[in-house]
């Protein structure tokens, strides 16, 4: 019914990418990931804890999920490049979710350093999925720089405000020749459906599931919304009209 989502050399059936941060427990995280149907999950790179035996990977089957490391918490191109190198060195993935932030208060991306880091990492052979704002010009420049996938924010990270500027996402989609995945700001299922109905190739989210009262139920809702939005897009919606149009025949009473 639908073609697979192609990211670099990999193909996925699920179009929902889910983060692994901020769940009440790792056990709930594992159940929510399972319920979401996600095939790609994001992780962050941090200092290993000394004398601690519990690992995120006690709860994640790396044969089942494609691991997408992020550069979250980096505020310059150089920092993000370092983290990408470290992530690749773990041997789990050559994909990187590139995230270079502008400041701690807004967590909005720094477009200049994001572009700079994209160029370097693409040259080094990384599969770069790049987080950016919903600015169509920046998105285009990132695509031109060789990003495999451009991931505009619907709204600020963790804000749950959904897609604030549908028109910008539409403009990005109009000219993009690579997958566009909405990343960040998703609050609930209808936000995911909206992104997919606009024609995005996928949605990446974390807090919307992890901080829901019931993360596992929300994971199911997000999965269904992603599928619903995708099929609505493929099916082609009716145009919006100002006036009514009867559904039943108007003659032969």
């Amino acid at each position: 019914m639908d073609k697979k989502l192609k990211i670099g050399s990999r193909e996925f059936t699920s179009r929902l990418f889910v983060g692994t941060g901020k769940y009440p427990t790792l056990d709930i995280m594992a159940k929510a990931l399972e319920a979401s149907g996600a095939e790609v999950i994001t992780v962050a790179v941090r200092r290993a804890k000394i004398n601690e035996s519990e690992s995120l990977f006690d709860y994640i089957d790396t044969n089942k999920y494609t691991i997408l490391p992020n550069t979250a918490g980096c505020y310059s191109a150089d920092e993000a490049i370092r983290v990408a190198h470290l992530a690749r060195e773990t041997g789990l993935s050559d994909m990187i979710k590139l995230e270079v932030l502008g400041d701690e208060r807004t967590l909005l991306p720094d477009p200049i350093d994001t572009l700079k880091a994209t160029k370097v990492l693409v040259n080094e052979g990384f599969t770069v999925l790049v987080y950016t704002s919903d600015d169509p010009i920046v998105a285009k420049k990132l695509e031109d720089a060789g990003a495999t996938c451009v991931m505009p924010a619907g709204s600020p990270i963790g804000s749950g405000q959904g897609i604030l500027n549908r028109n910008n996402i539409r403009i990005i989609l109009e000219s993009a020749k690579i997958p566009i995945i909405v990343d960040a700001g998703v609050g609930t299922a209808s936000d995911v459906a909206m992104a997919m109905e606009l024609g995005c190739e996928g949605v990446l989210l974390n807090t919307g599931i992890a901080h829901a009262k019931d993360p596992v139920k929300m994971a199911i809702a997000m999965k269904l919304a992603c599928e619903a939005g995708r099929f609505a897009y493929l099916a082609g919606r009716i145009p919006k009209r100002l006036y009514a149009k009867a559904s039943s025949p108007e003659k032969d009473f």
Binding site: G19, T20, G21, K22, Y23, L26, M29, T42, V43, A44, V45, R46, R47, A48, K49, I50, N51, E52, S53, S55, L56, F57, I67, P69, N70, A72, H85, L86, A87, E89, T90, G91, L92, I157, G158, A184, L204, L205, N206, T207, A210
Partner: protein
């Protein structure tokens, strides 16, 4: 001798390899990456590379994130 491991001053015997150091401080050697004095040391060198006094090591792994 003393090294700095993830920002903490730690002791280890002379001749300790990176691999042994990770064992000594119970850091899972899988899914980690190691920087020695700000240079990434490829995994295959962990069993042979010996740390020296005053070396600064950063060992990273994956944690939950979005």
């Amino acid at each position: 001798m003393r090294i700095t491991l993830n920002g903490e001053i730690k002791e280890c015997p002379a001749g300790t390899t990176i691999e042994k150091l990770l064992e000594l401080y119970t850091i899972d050697k899988h899914r980690t990456a190691v920087e020695l004095n700000a240079q990434i040391i490829p995994r295959k060198e962990h069993s042979s590379r010996i740390v020296k006094d005053t070396d600064v090591l950063e060992v990273v792994t994956f944690v939950g994130g979005g």
